[in-house]
């Protein structure tokens, strides 16, 4: 769970039907406002044999305009962008491209931002200083299984759902089993331990967690942007 595993991509997203045998490279879109940084990212992504950077946007506005047509598999999103923030851009892109995985990039580790990004609909969260090998592994991980859930995030998710428990309808509320899994996660249990203690398969646990995330997104997408704006402007 804590160690990113390289997984075989089961989906054939972006794969062309006339090349059934070969695995096409993962299409990556990038949103980054700094020109030199953008260049370096493109080089870095293209250095991986199974990844290809197909599109690089400078602003969130451009990303919302351009990226849907490109239909990438993964979007790497800088969180601090001029005008439209990475969080807001994530929220908009996720509604336009629900199948695309969005990974937020930040310079500094900040738990608050991780959770905000996840609430806005991001599927993962990476530090920009991540080693290239780890970066590749983490991207494959996101493509294979969605966002990783740590005990801290699980605690936040539980809290977030508790706060909204009264106003949301049944379909976006956590089920008993989901809450149970989250509680165990918050206590530090790994997916494997949870699976064995609840007598479930690991896949089932993962499915539950995916459902938790989609419910979280539905519940908090707009709110996450509002809170992000508030955290940027304390006054």
């Amino acid at each position: 769970m804590t160690q990113p595993n390289v997984k075989v991509i089961k989906t054939t997203k972006g794969g062309r039907p006339d090349e059934p045998g070969s695995r096409p490279p993962v299409k990556v879109a990038l949103v980054e406002d700094q020109p030199k940084v953008r260049e370096s990212w493109i080089k870095l992504i293209n250095s991986f044999p199974d990844f290809k950077c197909i599109c690089a946007c400078v602003t969130g506005e451009e990303a919302v305009r351009v990226i849907p047509a490109e239909a990438p598999d993964v979007v790497l999103m800088d969180i601090f962008l001029p005008r439209m923030s990475g969080i807001e851009c994530t929220m908009r892109l996720k509604t336009l491209l629900p199948q695309t995985q969005i990974v937020i990039l930040t310079a500094m580790a900040d738990q608050e931002l991780v959770f905000l990004a996840l609430e806005a609909g991001a599927d993962g969260y990476l530090l920009k200083r991540t080693k290239p090998s780890d970066l590749r592994a983490a991207l494959l991980d996101v493509l294979g299984g969605g966002a990783p859930m740590t005990s801290q995030i699980a605690r936040r998710v539980i809290e977030s759902f508790r706060q909204k428990a009264k106003i949301r309808d049944e379909s976006t509320r956590l089920s008993m089993r989901e809450e149970q899994i989250l509680m165990l996660l918050a206590q530090g249990h790994s997916n494997k331990m949870i699976a064995s203690s609840l007598e479930l398969s690991i896949d089932t646990v993962c499915t539950h967690l995916k459902n938790v995330f989609s419910k979280l997104h539905v519940n908090s997408r707009t709110e996450a942007v509002v809170r992000y704006m508030a955290s940027k402007n304390p006054k």
């Binding site: 030199k36 900040d110 200083r129 991540t130 740590t150 605690r155 809290e159 530090g188």
Partner: protein
Amino acid sequence: MSRFLALGFFLAPTLLANADGDMPEKQKPLPQMGDSYVTNGLGSWIWEDKTLDDQTCLLWNTFDIPTSSKVTKARLVMTVDNEFTLYLDGRELGRGAEWRELFVFDLTQLLKPGRHVLAVSCYNGSFFAGMLFGLKVELADGENVEVKSDQSWKVVPEGVSRWKTRTKAQPEWAAASIKAPLGGTPWWTVPDAVNMMPSLQPIELFFWQTGWFQISLLSLCGLVILVSLRLMTQLAMHKKERFLLQRERERIARDIHDDIGARMTQLVLHGEVAQYELPADEEMRQRLNWICEEARGLLSTLDEILWAVNPRRDTLRDFVDYVCKYTVDFLAPSKIQCFFEVGPETSAVALDLPPRLGLLMAVKEALNNAAKHSGATELTLQIHWRDERLVIVVRDNGKGFDPALTDPLRNGLPNMTQRMKELGGHCVISSQLARGCRVEFSVPLHHPRSSFWGWLWNDKRLPAYDSGTSNDRNGEPVQSHDPTKC
């Protein structure tokens, strides 16, 4: 009652004259009063050197009652052409406005041993002016003290302050001049009437009416106001300081985040790209890799500084997040499985920088001990509120130790105890051989919702800043954070 008396006075003054002690008694003619003639003891008609129309003349004199003697009788007889106001020791005794009559005051109860000041503010309407005065004080030992209107009286110039209570005459005060002897023209030989003025009692003041009490009370009030003002200023300054500190911390956090952090991250990124562009066997590639690794290590240190500095992280939730994440990262290489038990009430409670940092350092120390010495397979971190205290427990299932036999310096107890002491808390280590080890940190923290006064005062405590952070960072093993784990 007084209205009735006033009415009665007009209707039947003679009937009421004896009954009503408050009203001047009129007896005409009355050349004699008791043991002596009323005019006995009177001096001459005195006035200022020059007599003018519409003139105010201030006449002043003193007399002494010998100490250790008792006044048995004191009678003052006087009149002024045209009007007077009489003061004794600054207290107004009475007024008169008829030169044909005499005014008699009984001062028996007013005179105590010591010096007394007689002050008469006289007014002349027109033509002749003069004051006739006689005071006879009989003492218990048979001695008499007499004051008559003569040249011993002084004329006080206008504009002298507190002249009615001054016990010494100023050199520039002129002596009064005698205008006529008693019975001399143009004045009378026998007064038309003798007015017995209302009997006078010494003014008995309640203690709260006395000057010293009022002055002390006023000064006390003043003092209290001053102290309150000072406290309020201090409070305002304190709040201002807190605010400035908060703002400064925000600024530093922003600088670290937006500037140092962002630029160093770029360096790492460019370094990685440069590495990739070099041939695989190039020695330079190794060096570049080393530079990138160093920069990553630096950035994780910056992460921690940013967390500590950022005032937004001054909540218990952020503390819990950080400590849990740190625990996971720290124990990842050691194969110790960690579990968390975090109380649900710990979310948005404010936790100031000093306890936040002190507790983190203490937990780090406990984790370090567990990882190095315990040989445990499981470690539990508990964070709870209990009786207004934040309690953090680090418990492992390792081999434990006998506290009595173990060198206290080795288990880090003095260090952790000192840290907790600085925060007003305590640290308890309990362990038994083969039964694991339990370290409990407990720090008093006011739950914001539990205290009305806390809400009213709205004052977060600001304990001394723990200056030991940088030292502690040197002491801990260098941890390279794996960002993919966050």
